[in-house]
Amino acid sequence: MRPLLEAVKVRRTFGGLVAVDDVDFRVDAAEIRALIGPNGAGKTTLANLLTGRLRPTSGRVYFEGQEITFLPAHRRVQLGIACTLQIPAVLRGLSVFENVLLAVQRAELRGPLGFLRPQGETLVVRVCEVLEAVGLLDTWEEPAGALPYGHQRLVELAMALALRPRLLVLDEPTQGLSPEEIARWTGLIRRVAQKTTVLLIEHNLPVVLDLAHRVTVMDRGRILFEGTPREVEEEPAVQRAYLGAGG
């Protein structure tokens, strides 16, 4: 089966530091893949190479068989790669509704003419759908910047979902959330994954073991191990590098 996303020998250096070191990485359609590893392992850098926030120093990236190595991030979004960031990025001054509307119109409108016509009811209905899915319908009117941290993450997720992505890259979505919020997220991701492939960068090991179909472990810019959650738990090298070192 052709992978949904494939990175071939991608490398990214920052000055003398090799953040991602000739990594081969592939994600199959319809899976939840977790990417774990200690701080500084290169997880976020690898994710950025996939979403287009960074270009690789060398190597190639393919999405559904098409090379995307040098495509800018906005073109990749149009192909179906959406992401949320480690530090939630919302349009703070705009309402939750307007935040999601900006994402909805990207997916629903076509052509320059579509972008000059005022919004139709279909867009509004779609925004409500997405907000309902993440449970934010009640706060639609509030400025996104005024929401609690956990809810800002949900706004970001809503924006990503509104893009109808084929691949959703979530960078540490549960960081800084309470246990109740984490439980809610786990349910959400599982529901999202019925339609979308999910690449989950995560520190929280119980969440990973609970959600992921497969887990990739990175350490010092390389992939250390890849397998099912159970295999990861039992692999001594992983325990040394990650669990033992106290990540």
């Binding site: 979403t51 926030r53 800018p72 991030a73 906005h74 979004v77 149009q78 959406a82 992401c83 960031l85 990025a89 919302v90 349009l91 703070r92 001054g93 705009l94 509704f97 307007e98 509307l101 900006l102 994402a103 119109q105 990207r106 409108l109 579509g114 972008f115 000059l116 016509r117 005022p118 919004q119 009811e121 509004v124 209905v125 409500c128 639609w140 924006m159 893009l163």
Partner: protein, 312 residues
């Protein structure tokens, strides 16, 4: 859906307010003495200029210090063909608009590789280059003394045309900023990276906004040249790049009516103060500082924050 109808009524209120303002300006011509009719005509033209500036500063979040370039491009683009080729005003007007649109399109390509403070500096340099070019080609532009055009527009017609231009620009820019396209501009202003990661090319959207803004500046400049039958390079100077910034900040950046309010206030502040003293700019400056202290986001910007959130 209740939400959708809630947004609809807000829409009626918005369009009602703006049409009301335009109607009020229409009535004004019957009440104003001739001198003030001329002042308000200028206010309307400069408000069009300020609207164009606000599209970039208020909605896209780009602070240009070179917009006099586009105002002057419209002015010379319309004025020179009248002077040298004997073009009629209605044909000269689109030439001016086109000239400034092309200028904005070309300048935008290098200038929009930067944002923030760098963008301000780059545009300042382009603006100054334009100003110096009017002097360099002095034999053609008569920049140092100004050109009088062989046109005569009666004051009342002048007022009507200025109001028409302002009205079309106000409703047009309102439509743009409320369209999905305008929403992307606001997205770029609020959070460039997030907007980029939603699939929008920041450069492309800023460039289109820059061209629209430049063309509208040009329309204001061309109208000024044709209605007042005068072309001068004072309008290309840095002062006229700073004016729109001042107007928009006073009225409220990112508000639809802020530009008009800002131009009107500043113009009349200068009028009143210059009647009182020769050092009128000191008085105006002091008044503006006080104003900005009371309304840090411009008058309409602060009013919106204090309860008129529906204001566009």
């Amino acid at each position: 859906m209740g939400r959708a109808s809630g947004m609809r009524s807000g829409k009626h209120r918005v369009w009602g307010l703006h049409l009301g303002v335009l109607g009020g300006l229409g009535v004004l011509q019957f009440v104003l003495p001739p001198y003030h009719l001329g002042v308000v005509t200028r206010i309307l033209l400069f408000s069009t200029y300020a609207l164009a500036y606000n599209l970039l500063l208020g909605y896209t979040g780009l602070l240009s210090l070179g917009h006099a370039l586009y105002f002057a491009a419209g002015m010379y683009g319309a004025g020179l063909p009248v002077y040298y080729l004997g073009l009629e005003a209605p044909q000269a007007f689109p030439v001016g608009v086109l000239g400034s649109a092309v200028m904005a399109a070309l300048v935008g390509i290098p200038a929009l590789r930067t944002t923030g403070l760098r963008f301000s500096i780059v545009t300042l340099l382009f603006g100054q280059t334009g100003y110096l070019l009017t002097l360099y080609f002095n034999r053609i532009t008569w920049a140092d003394q100004g050109l009088s055009l062989p046109l005569q527009v009666p004051p009342v017609l002048r007022y009507h045309l200025a109001l028409l231009l302002f009205g079309v620009s106000l409703l047009g820019s309102l439509w743009i900023v409320r369209s999905p396209f305008g929403r992307v501009l606001v997205g770029l202003r609020e959070h460039e990276e997030r907007t980029h990661l939603l699939g929008y090319d920041p450069f492309l959207y800023r460039w289109v906004a820059h061209v629209l803004s430049g063309a509208l500046c040009g329309a204001a400049g061309a109208a000024y040249a044709l209605l007042f039958a005068y072309v001068g390079n004072a309008f290309a100077s840095v002062l006229y790049s700073v004016y729109p910034l001042l107007w928009v900040l006073v009225g409220g950046a990112g508000t639809a009516l802020g530009p008009l309010l800002g131009v009107a206030l500043v113009t009349y502040a200068v009028e009143v103060a210059s009647g009182l003293t020769h050092a009128y700019l000191v008085v105006v400056g002091a008044a503006l500082i006080c104003l900005i202290r009371v309304f840090p986001q411009g008058i309409l910007g602060s009013l919106r924050k204090r309860g008129g959130r529906w204001l566009p």
